[in-house]
């Protein structure tokens, strides 16, 4: 048996004593016991006071704040031509974006008056984008792009797909213009970083749905609003990753350069940017995927693109159509993800090639570019190459099949799904909802404060108190507690699955290789896509939102846990094995405790993902804060309430995020 023993001291009474690091002493805590006590107190309080002070309000009921927000909206709408800020700043941005989007649409997707078709027809678009993919990401990506584009057409969503691409591309383009300099600035200035990071944190905590209403308030509805909301949502990952990429350039390399007397500009150009190039392209990938997901959601505020047919189909519960248009989104997600990933991997290769192959590459690019240009010309000139052919039509038959399959399915497995629904509803959802929503508000507020203190110390308590105050202010306390209930139940399910699968992946390389690509693929899917199968199985109910939320939250949480388990030092695992640890003991006594920070972080991400999906589920679920947001767009007098709901969602997200972040920081210290 090999036990790793400390190396033998060469001299027992050595005078050369190794310096001991300075360590602060840790405090003793009884977190679990106190949490249990809090829970018991909560249940007792609920039993005593249930139904009192719950702050429930009816669906059409408005508070003063909601009415005031309605007035604000009216003021905004009335003064678009008179107020300086609205007319010139907002109007200017709005017009510029509208102009770009319209320009691109007339170029690629919509009839360019007086032509009945766009300037560049489908053949030209296929040629152009394929060539672009080839130049940036290689031949495989080129094939993927060509195939995907053709599929969009055959599924019957050519125009919507290209529109979605245009909105996404416009947003990503602006993101790069703003985000790269911002990331560079943050990497070079501690002050800038300290000032901007909390803003990025906040932007990334806000669930996507909550962005929509404020944007509509300022920009109205339409393409400009859609692009702006998309770019706000997609900007943080790019800035973050750019800063991270530049900052993680090895300290020694930077020091070596400084020791030779580089200027700051030389350091940036010759060391940091080239070394961070690959990371920055990963940032562009993340930015693109975030933009795609938001651009589909922006259909709710009249953003052009594939989100439109999906939203309509989801709202009218047309599973077949939702499936086909959702499929087109999935294809687009895969296409964009693969292409940008390949571009990032290739950037290194390209940089290392010798001068001979660079010459050859130029020739090939010029030749293929000429072909693409010819296709563009043909598609501009001939109608057959401009309008995507009606035949073969894959979309309609597929939609019909899916609809009939779904009818058959719901007819046959209704019992199973209903049993599951009832089990979760009566076993978990309803009791928790009773505790959350039927207790007096002050009791729940107090419980949340105590819990955040127990998990994260004083600082999250302050945030929690502020967020609670904001939620109370929105007049939607009861709705928020319902949404919180759903979120907690779904997150519990996410964590159960994520721990099981994550531990398996972390301990088994093979499992990791097999499962990870699926998780990666699922993670790139825009949230709308998850609603379709959930809707097919469970019909319109809050349970649909839960199922979609679980599916949406599982990939990220699982990956974090798998990485955490994998990150446990192999020496510790080996030492434990040498001491005769069983597999179960290894998981419960070594790996999970050592990966605790990762588990807490996974629950943080799980909560945020789940919350954002639960809210989107309001689109089909018919209750909760998300539903209020959607109603705000469809019914003018509910706009203020929808806006308040967005604020409540944000407060809820910030609160959950702060509590778990602090808990993660604390558990990382042990």
């Amino acid at each position: 048996m090999t036990v790793t023993a400390p190396p033998p001291e060469s001299k027992p009474q050595a005078k050369v004593v190794e310096e001991q690091p300075f360590v602060e002493e840790a405090k003793q805590r009884h977190t679990r016991l106190l949490l249990l006590a809090t829970f018991v107190a909560w249940v007792v309080g609920w039993a005593l006071w249930k139904g009192n002070h719950t702050l429930a309000i009816g669906g059409a009921e408005l508070t003063d704040l909601h009415r005031w927000l309605n007035d604000v909206r009216d003021d905004f709408d009335n003064s678009r031509d008179s107020n300086f800020f609205l007319q010139y700043v907002v109007g200017g941005i709005s017009d510029a974006i509208d102009w770009v989007v319209t320009f691109l649409q007339e170029l690629f997707s919509q009839p360019a008056f007086p032509r009945p078709v766009p300037e560049v027809g489908w053949l030209g678009v296929v040629g152009l984008l394929t060539w672009l993919a080839y130049a940036l990401a290689g031949i495989r990506s080129a094939v993927l792009v060509a195939a995907s584009l053709l599929l969009f057409g055959f599924l019957g969503y050519w125009e919507d797909s290209i529109d979605l691409l245009i909105v996404t591309a416009a947003a990503v383009g602006i993101c790069i213009l703003i985000g790269l300099p911002l990331g560079i600035w943050m990497a070079r200035s501690k002050i800038a970083s300290a000032a901007i990071t909390p803003i990025l944190d906040l932007l990334q905590t806000v669930p996507s749905f909550a962005y929509l209403t404020p944007l509509v308030l300022v920009f109205g509805i339409g393409p400009a609003s859609a692009v702006v909301v998309t770019l706000i949502y997609a900007l943080p990952p790019l800035v973050r990753i750019t800063e991270h990429g530049l900052r993680s350039v090895s300290e020694t390399t930077i020091e070596a350069s400084s020791s030779m007397g580089v200027t700051r500009l030389q350091l940036l150009r010759k060391v940091q940017l080239p070394m961070a190039r690959r990371t920055i392209i990963v940032g562009v990938n993340q930015c693109t995927m975030a933009a795609l997901s938001m651009a589909t959601i922006a259909a709710l505020i009249n953003g052009p693109g594939l989100g439109q047919p999906v939203t309509k189909a989801l709202q009218s519960l047309d599973v077949g159509t939702a499936f086909v248009s959702g499929l087109a989104i999935v294809i687009m997600a895969i296409m964009l993800d693969r292409t940008t990933t390949a571009a990032s991997e290739r950037s290194e290769l390209l940089a290392r090639r010798g001068p001979g192959s660079a010459q050859r590459r130029r020739i090939v690019l010029a030749a293929t570019g000429a072909v693409a240009a010819a296709l563009v010309y043909v598609s501009h000139t001939y109608l057959w190459a401009a309008e995507f052919p009606e035949e073969p039509d894959l979309g309609r038959p597929l939609a019909e099949r899916v609809t009939s399959f779904n009818d058959w399915l719901t007819g046959n497995i209704d019992e199973t799904t209903n049993a599951l629904k009832d089990l979760v509803s009566y076993g978990l959802l309803n009791p928790l909802q009773a505790l959350m929503a039927d207790s007096p508000w002050w009791l729940v507020a107090a419980v949340l404060l105590v819990v955040s203190y127990l998990l994260g110390g004083w600082r999250p308590v302050i945030t929690t108190a502020i967020c609670e105050a904001v939620i109370l202010g929105t007049g939607l306390w009861n709705e928020t507690m319902r949404t919180l209930t759903t979120t907690l139940v779904a997150t519990a399910a996410v964590m159960a699955i994520a721990v099981a699968v994550g531990v398996w992946m972390g301990r088994n390389k093979r499992a990791d290789t097999i499962v990870r690509p699926f998780l990666d693929a699922f993670q790139t899917m825009p949230p709308f896509v998850y609603l379709v199968p959930a809707l097919a199985l469970f019909g319109p109910s809050r349970f649909t939102a839960i199922v979609a939320a679980v599916a949406y939250g599982v990939p990220i949480a699982t990956k974090l846990i798998a990485d955490g388990i994998r990150g446990v030092s192999p020496t510790s695992v080996e030492a434990a094995r040498a001491a005769g640890t069983t597999a179960w003991q290894m998981i419960s006594k070594v790996q999970l405790p050592m990966a605790r920070a990762a588990v807490v972080l996974a629950s943080n991400q799980g909560l945020l993902y789940v919350l954002s999906m639960v809210v989107i589920g309001g689109l089909v679920g018919g209750s909760g804060l998300g539903y209020l947001v959607v109603s705000g767009f469809s019914q003018a007098q509910l706009f203020g309430k929808g806006l308040a709901a967005g604020i409540a969602i944000t407060a809820l997200g910030v609160m959950l995020d702060r509590i778990t972040q602090h808990a993660a920081a604390r558990s990382g210290r042990h």
Binding site: S10, K11, Q13, A14, K15, V16, E18, E19, Q20, F22, S250, T252, T253, E255, A256, S257, S258, S259, M260, G261, V262, T263, Q266, K270, V271, P274, M275, R277, A351, R352
Partner: protein, 360 residues
């Protein structure tokens, strides 16, 4: 070795570095005299370098040695202000570094000093030759000059044929050769090494040490060399500065450090060194005893014991030791054997008292 300050290549005077937010408020208060640990517990600041002064002569190899955490890396970075000193002055070839403007400092770094790092600090996206040329490139030399010069350096450090490789295609030893070539390429007056060979395998390390000795003979630069390895220090250093907790414990030539360790800390360090390899006759000789023969051979006092041992053991009379023309003392078989036998005692035992050297 004493140096006149006017001709010193590097002159450091009471240099301090305290890390921490309130660092500059500690100097001059009684807190500055606290031990490193007490200071950290009290103020949260780390005393990395404490009141260090020394001089380095042109062409000298000056080694700074100490355990990890003793402040060596910080010290060497203070010399070109890669880390800003809390207090003190550094003068390099008459140029006061600590008073230099941003531009002047950059100028000095570009032309007069070069540094070799423990983890190489190469640019992974550049070929070997472009890494070597990097220092010339940033100071604006034209392409032809820098390529010619870099090629020369690549050949000098024995990397010919690897010009177009990328750093990650080379072994650790080869990468450090690139680091050496890069430092040499700018033709600096002073070269600084921060534990350059600590990350290498022992055999490669020995190779690289010999390489440094060879380069020093060929190009004759002044060198400040950081290491935590006593063998390396003794092998390379003309003089050695031993540091502990940010302070100087001893400065001396290798034989002074081994023969007359300043305190128990240094003594413990050198206890396992084969003394006969380091000590010179100066350290083992004694006054002639009354009636002893003074007819023996004559040797100079700076001969290493190991090299002289055979001859001394072979001669019948005690050997007379001179410093130039001045008679210093004698050495006989017993004196030699005492040094050699002391080495064979188990390590840790008190070394046998040797010689007439300064009392320890």
């Amino acid at each position: 070795m004493t140096t006149d300050s006017s001709e010193a290549a590097l002159k450091v005077e009471s240099l301090w570095k305290i890390f921490g937010s309130k660092a500059d408020r500690i100097l001059g208060t009684p807190d500055a005299d606290l031990s490193r640990k007490e200071l950290q517990a009290k103020t949260g600041c780390v005393m990395a370098v404490k009141d260090v002064s020394f001089e380095v002569a042109p062409g000298e190899v000056f080694v700074v040695m100490g355990l990890s955490g003793s402040g060596k890396s910080t010290l060497v970075r203070l010399l070109t202000r890669l880390i800003e000193p809390t207090a003190g002055t550094v003068v390099m070839n008459g140029d006061e570094i600590t008073a230099a403007s941003e531009d002047r400092l950059r100028e000095i770094r570009r032309h007069h000093v070069a540094m070799v790092f423990q983890h190489f600090g190469l640019l992974p996206h550049r070929k070997v030759i472009d890494n070597v040329a990097y220092g010339l490139e940033i100071r604006g030399e034209d392409k032809q000059t820098r390529l010619a010069r870099s090629q020369e350096m690549v050949d000098l450090v024995g990397l010919s044929g690897y010009e177009s490789s990328y750093p990650d295609q080379l072994s650790g030893g080869m990468q450090q050769r690139v680091g050496l070539a890069r430092a040499l390429a700018v033709d600096p007056e002073l070269m600084m090494f921060d534990e350059p060979f600590s990350a290498l395998d022992p055999l490669i390390r020995r190779d690289m040490q010999n390489e440094v000795i060879r380069l020093h003979e060929e190009v004759g630069k002044t060198m400040v060399f950081i290491t935590h390895d006593l063998q390396e220090a003794l092998k390379l250093g003309d003089r050695i500065l031993i540091m502990r907790d940010g302070e100087i414990v001893q400065i001396g030539t290798p034989d002074e450090v081994v023969g007359a360790p300043a305190d128990d800390y240094v003594k413990d360090f050198v206890s396992e060194v084969p003394k006969s390899h380091v000590l010179t006759l100066k350290w083992v000789m004694r006054e002639p005893r009354p009636g002893e023969s003074l007819e023996g051979k004559v040797m100079q006092s700076d001969r290493i014991v190991k090299d002289a041992a055979r001859e001394i053991l072979d001669s019948d009379d005690p050997v007379r030791v001179y410093d130039g023309d001045e008679f210093l003392g004698v050495v006989d078989d017993d004196d030699i054997l005492r040094v050699v036998v002391a080495e064979e005692d188990e390590p840790g035992s008190e070394p046998a008292p040797v010689g007439l050297g300064k009392s320890s």
